[in-house]
């Protein structure tokens, strides 16, 4: 523009005017000719003399208002320009619109650009207002609309489709959005872009749904529909019928389509939206071969094991501690049943040879298996079990360092063990320390029993059998604490997939009046029936609530919330009413959390309820209001929610409310972890320890599993806070942030582990801090070092179970057993490749990064412990990497040695194992691959199916060229269906070691973790007479 201005002085007739006063005076003339002339001249020089003209702006306005004046539009244009120079853009826009055609949108000047931008802003504001308010808005200025549309069309014709999509979304113009997408040259890419943008940037739920509906429409009309994305959209829209129709269509297609159907199902499963998945499943047609082609194992588990479990338990001794040992036996018998199930589909695959020529029914059964969670959970379980790398020595050291009489720390170790082995089915630590374990009494016993549920999480078939010893047998019940714990454990095992266990839990709840058992059953039911909104269960929970007993009522409140997650039903009103009635704080707190869960993900819809709760006189209900905000706006980074939370964080009179408000920020911001440390940075320096604690947890929640340096910077000073519980929170949060981080990527891991050891061993440290450190150690190595904390799935959608789990976990502040809810947030970091029969074929993928970047932490060695007593669990230091490598090698050798011993032992083992073993022998070549890795540090490594691929590693993982299998989706993580490119050849399958064989599971799993001596010592400690081994050849 300036360049234009430079040229101007020579343009007009009189050279270098120094004032526009003459022209301005001409505006007062009566002759309109003169006025028009003055206007024209002024319009030319306005950029230079606007300051002078602005004094006479009223004259211009008057000319524009004058209906009789023929050049009104010119006056408007001039007025607009003057206002523009004065910085009054609103006025300027009004007059520019008044200038009609004289305001040339295509002009390249700064004036026009600024005003067009302003125009779009105003249009966006008006149309958003029109969309959001219920009452009728006055129609938009047509001139405004015309300009915006002109800009949109210009974007489209210029090929700037992404911009067009962006503006269309901002303006809420679905018609333009559609036009932009259909006219673009790369429709699929733009659709994907729109999907991503709509998920992240459209912050109003209703409109987002409209966009999604449009997208589905566009997707289906496009030439080659992207079913994966369509189904994602449909899931967001909660349209099970649509998904079912698509899946059915795909299953009826050729084998590739069937693969795609499975992939869609797996992807849907990843979002863990139980109710939706079940709805889809129920809408799929009943395959004719349902009965013969391998009944769904879930039903099998329901029908058979109770009897078996009961008998096995009857054989076992009655005492609680002995029962743990008896479990092995129990499972041995349960295993038979499992082998039977395996046999039922094994012949089908073997008979088919290389290519699964699946019938419709077969495919449908498989699909339903996936949708019900059966197959994926099973696969994940196998992965976690076979790759378990939890280091028992860590626990042993903690156990040694902590005072035995300190019951809180004692309990914390049990929790840590549970988390560390979550989903791995390895309970060796408990077995080895039965006497120590028996110190848990009362509620500690409850937690100890419930811990088994975490360890066996996802062990759907065996869940009942595993817990049988603690449940009433033949009508005789043992301790109510262990019984309640067992019910809670069953809930944890079946969390979010509890169809098979629901009835049992419900019966247990009905058959008891003991509040401890009720407590366990309520939690268990809530977990198992998560989000199903089952009326019957709700009524039962309500009747427990109305008994007005504190413990049972609290659990009932939480259970109701879990049951109704995201339903936003009017039941919340009932709950709120009762919360006002009751005198028990525990019940109010349970209900408050429950109500918060009910409005999960409802965003603006929940505002009325949130308002009601946050204005309540009772601080506990306000506290629930904070949770409601967190749940309703989870992972949205919604500005209004953040503003409200920050307001409460600094202004509420109750510490609890303030703490929760800050913590809730973590939930809201978990979609943008980078933002969170910045937003809570000031709060982390608050004088109020509760606020500091909240800040630590917020960062832990939002940045979980990211290893963000900013987050660690914030947490580090908090770990040394003067207040004990702040230290506790900071330690736990740091562990959450650092989960699965390796030293190669984040050097602070080593320092943190060292710090944990120091805190645990420090006799001056308060119990609270110690407890935090113990839990942190558990979280750091969670799930056998094979899981991460993921509140969002790979499709960037929130995982309901995980977010809910995290929310309830934060309640452990009041009630320790709730700490187990953290296990719901764990997501196995696995790449599981599957063929058409949903089996894992032999497959190798390459990870184009140094192996040490993503390796497991090195196991601790016993020797080192003897040398340096003070810091027994000291990890490798970054400086002495060579030493570490040597140590690793040593450990590796020890491991191999151990395995050799096992092999020998296995020969003497049970003969019935052998037929499974034959299968296993084929492919367990993993140690060899590892050995290659350790000899030199190559730039890449080869991973075999199922592979541990941690989130940061995903981008390095490639399917090798020329491989037999081609993946159906690009992301190399999670469950990936593989297209067989050479269907004729025989397939090599990865052995499926089912973790059912408990005795066997314990020993080999312990072996890689505890090196040589320790494992041997463990063996001596406890020689269970008929120890079944799994045959694990080299």
């Amino acid at each position: 523009m300036a360049a234009v201005a430079v040229a101007r002085p020579s343009e007009h007739g009189f050279s270098q005017p120094t004032s526009s006063a003459g022209l301005l005076a001409m505006l007062d003339e009566d002759e309109s000719v003169l006025q028009v002339y003055a206007l024209k001249q002024l319009n030319r020089i306005v950029d230079e003399f606007w300051a002078e003209i602005s004094a006479e702006i009223s004259k211009l306005e008057a000319l524009y208002e004058d209906e009789g004046f023929e050049e009104r539009e010119l006056a408007a244009l001039l007025a607009s320009k003057v206002f523009y120079h004065l910085g009054e853009l609103d006025e300027s826009l009004t007059y520019a619109l008044g200038a009609g055609p004289l305001f040339d949108v295509s002009e390249e000047s700064e004036y026009v650009q600024t005003l067009v931008a302003k125009c779009i802003d105003q249009y966006v504001e008006l149309s958003v207002k029109a969309n959001e308010s219920k009452e009728k808005q006055p129609p938009l200025d047509t001139r405004l609309v015309a300009i915006v549309e002109r800009m949109l069309n210009k974007c489209i014709t210029d090929g700037q489709y992404q911009q067009a999509v962006g503006i269309a979304l901002e303006c809420r113009r679905l018609d333009k959005l559609e036009e932009a997408i259909t006219k673009s040259d790369d429709v699929p890419a733009l659709l994907a872009y729109t999907l991503r943008v709509s998920q992240t940037l459209v912050n109003r739920r209703e409109f987002r749904h409209e966009v999604l509906r449009t997208l589905v429409k566009l997707y289906t009309h496009s030439g080659s529909p992207d079913y994966i994305n369509i189904c994602q959209c449909l899931m967001f829209l909660d349209d099970p019928a649509g998904v079912a129709a698509i899946l059915d269509k795909l299953v009826k297609g050729d084998s590739d389509d069937a693969l795609l159907a499975y992939q869609v199902a797996f992807d849907l499963f990843e979002n863990e939206f139980q109710q939706f998945l079940l709805n889809v499943r129920d809408r799929l047609p009943d395959p004719r071969g349902h009965a013969e082609a391998g009944h769904p194992p879930a039903e099998g588990a329901e029908s058979t094991p109770p009897a078996e479990g009961a008998t096995a338990a009857a054989d076992a001794t009655a005492s609680a501690s002995a029962a743990l040992a008896a479990e092995a036996k129990d499972e041995a018998s349960a295993m038979e049943e499992d082998t039977g199930a395996a046999e039922s589909h094994a012949p089908a695959i073997e008979g088919l040879g290389d290519l699964p020529i699946a019938t419709y029914a077969e495919r449908m059964t498989r699909l339903k298996g996936v949708l019900s969670g059966e197959t994926p959970i099973n696969l994940a379980l196998q992965f976690l079990y076979s790759r378990n790398r939890a280091d028992l020595l860590v626990l042993k050291n903690i156990k040694g360092a902590v005072d035995v009489r300190n019951s809180v720390c004692h309990g914390a170790i049990i929790y840590a063990n549970g988390l560390m082995h979550a989903g791995t089915t390895v309970d060796t630590f408990l077995r080895e320390n039965l006497e120590w374990l028996s110190r848990s009494t009362n509620w500690a016993k409850f937690s100890a029993t419930a811990g088994l549920g975490v360890i066996h999480r996802g062990h759907l078939q065996q869940g009942r059998a595993l817990m049988a010893p603690y449940l009433p047998q033949n009508g005789v019940s043992g301790s109510p604490y262990s019984e309640g714990g067992a019910l809670y454990a069953l809930g944890l095992i079946h969390a979010n997939h509890g169809e098979s266990i629901k009835t049992f839990l419900l019966e247990s709840l009905r058959n008891t009046t003991n509040e401890i058992i009720q407590h366990g059953a309520c939690l268990g039911l809530g977990l198992a029936a998560l989000g199903t909104a089952n009326e019957e269960i709700f009524e039962d929970l309500k009747s427990v609530l109305f008994t007005d007993s504190a413990n049972a009522g609290e659990a009932a409140g939480i259970g109701m919330g879990l049951l109704m997650v995201g339903s936003a039903s009017e039941k919340a009103g009932e709950m709120l009413a009762y919360a006002h009635e009751t005198q028990h704080e525990k019940i109010i707190r349970g209900l408050a959390l429950g109500i918060a869960l009910v409005v999960y993900g409802r965003e603006e819809e929940a505002d009325t309820l949130i308002e009601q709760m946050t204005r309540d006189q009772d601080p506990i209900l306000r506290y629930g209001g904070m949770y409601a905000l967190a749940m309703a706006y989870r992972a949205t980074a919604n500005n209004s929610a953040i503003r409200r939370l920050l307001h409460f964080a600094v202004s509420d009179v109750s510490d609890d409310v303030r703490r929760t408000a800050v913590m809730a920020l973590g939930f809201v911001l978990c979609s943008e972890p980078e933002q969170c440390p910045r937003i809570v940075a000031l709060l982390a320096e608050s004088y109020n320890p509760h606020v500091r604690y909240g800040a630590a947890m917020a960062v832990g929640i939002a940045c979980a599993g990211t290893g963000l340096t900013a987050a660690l910077d914030l947490l580090e000073p908090l770990q040394k806070d003067p207040t004990d519980f702040v230290r506790q929170g900071a330690l736990i949060a740091t562990a959450m942030v650092l989960i699965q981080e390796t030293e190669a990527r984040q050097p602070r891991v080593a320092a943190f582990r060292k710090h944990l050891d120091k805190v645990i061993g420090d006799k001056h440290e308060e119990t609270m801090g110690k407890m935090g450190a113990i839990l942190a150690a558990g979280i750091l190595d969670a799930g056998g070092r094979n899981v991460t904390i993921a509140l969002r799935s790979r499709s960037e959608h929130d995982r309901v179970t995980a977010v809910v789990g995290m929310a309830v976990f934060t309640q452990w502040w009041y009630w320790y057993p709730l700490a187990y809810f953290l296990s719901l947030t764990f997501a196995p970091t696995a790449l599981i490749g599957l063929n058409g029969a949903l089996q894992m074929p032999r497959l190798e993928v390459t990870s184009a990064a140094r192996p040490s970047l993503f390796a497991y932490p090195a196991p601790l060695s016993d020797k080192k412990e003897e040398e340096v007593k003070k810091v027994p669990t000291a990890q490798l230091s970054t400086t002495a990497r060579a030493k570490t490598k040597a140590k690793k090698d040593a450990a590796e050798k020890a491991e191999k040695g151990k395995e050799a011993i096992e092999k020998v032992g296995a020969k003497g083992g049970k003969k019935e194992e052998e037929k499974e073993g034959g299968d296993a022998m084929e492919v367990e070549k993993e140690p060899e691959a590892k050995k290659v890795k350790k000899e030199k540090e190559p730039e890449s490594e080869v991973l075999s199916n199922p592979a541990r691929v941690i989130p940061a590693q995903e981008k390095y993982v490639r399917f090798p060229e020329g491989s037999r299998y081609a993946p159906l989706k690009k992301v190399a993580a999670g469950w990936v269906l593989l297209k067989d490119l050479k269907p004729g050849e025989p397939e090599e399958l990865v052995s499926q070691h089912a973790p059912a064989e408990q005795g066997a599971a314990a020993a080999p799993a312990a072996a890689p973790a505890a090196a040589g001596g320790a494992a041997a010592a463990a063996d001596e400690d406890e020689p269970p007479p008929p120890e079944p081994f799994e045959f694990v050849p080299q």
Partner: protein, 492 residues
Amino acid sequence: MAREVEMADAEKDAAPSATAPATAATVQPEDPEKAALADLTGAVSLIERSVEQKEPRFVTRALRQTAAAKKKITPKVLRNFAHTFPKQLEVGSVLTQALQSEPSSTQADGVPSTKDSVLPEVEIYGYLVGLVFFIDQKKIDVAKTVANLAIKRIQTYNRRTLDSIAARVYFYFSLAYERSNELNTIRATLLGLHRTATLRHDEIGQETLLNLLLRNYLHYNLYEQAEKLRAKTQRPETSSNQQLSRYLYYQGRIQAIQLEYTDAKECLLQALRKAPQSAKGFRIACTKWATIVRLLLGEIPERTTFIQPGLREALKPYFELTNAVRIGNLELFHDAAEKYGAVFQTDKTSNLIVRLRHNVIRTGLRRINLSYSRISLKDVGLKLGLEGTVEDIESIVTKAIRDGGIDATVDHAKGFVQSKETGDIYSTVEPQSAFHSRISFCLNTHNEAVKAMRYPPGSHKGDLETEEKRRERQQQEQDLAKQLAEDDEDEF
């Protein structure tokens, strides 16, 4: 740096002998040349760091360094510097071409850059260095072409990190045109740039350009235009001290012309206070205007104003003028005005000095009024050196009385002036208001000083107490509490 050039500029007006900056630098041994190049490249890396860390402080430092190094820049240094830019960028070739006219054997000995691209900030910095060099070398035409190219490049970018460098370029752009007396041709460009800067919230650019525009208008005595522009533009809140003092200076000048002497005085004095000590030229110009405005207000500046080291020579005409006003001697005043007429003409203060005559008379009257309780009008005329009839003198005196200049009555019949008794000033609120204005000035200064302080982020985190110290402290607190409790018990 900007200040220094203006200083040099103003100094040249006042005392032409004081200028001789860069000319001597051409005949220097090789070492300083290398040092100069090192300074320039150092500044470049500072700029890069600043952009990377989004920390504007480093750019400021880089510009300061350049100001220090500019006297050492020779054609050779510049040529070498130009070679550090990648080939596809215009800046390198522009500078080299501009140097073609240099009668020197200076071939670039540096290795041409292999870099593919540099930051836009660095590119513009390259232009800036060239621009400064050519202005210092009095190669105004070359400077103008470089400046135009630089401005064109700046307009293609929209980066906030570029702002402070761009502001410097604007300044030298304007300076180059001022030197060639073509300021009016760039007014439209400056207005355009100012608009752009305002829209982009480029605050430093906005301030600089507004000042340049005011300077531009005032150069042509377009006071009205300048005032209109000044009144209609919003100044950004956070402003650099230097730009603010210039702005105040221009504002003071405009107000002085528009008869708003009180405001003008405030502005000019504020500008003087804000101006850095090293900016001698600016301070001289400012003091001149402030002196005139104060005289017009009937105040007499202290003698110390005129005998400040370095300013004495330049302020001599004004000193004599002040003296004349102080005494109230018209004759002396006319002499001074005549003697230094040319100086006042270049200072653009002569039209104000014409207005002063009236003040001289009034000051004289006041002196008479204080000395005599009664004096005849004729004597008044004689004492003031006024020519004219008694009627004329009477009208002058009555006007002075009506304006509140003197407190007296005129006896028309007898033809004399009768002074009134002066009251006790300490019985009025006058001292209080004087105190008030001083106190508020001190408070303002204090507040501004506090605002100007910089708190480095995170500096308070360093002194976290360690666990051991904490335990120690807690132990001590407990002991103290116990002791207090025991003391309490003892008392009962």
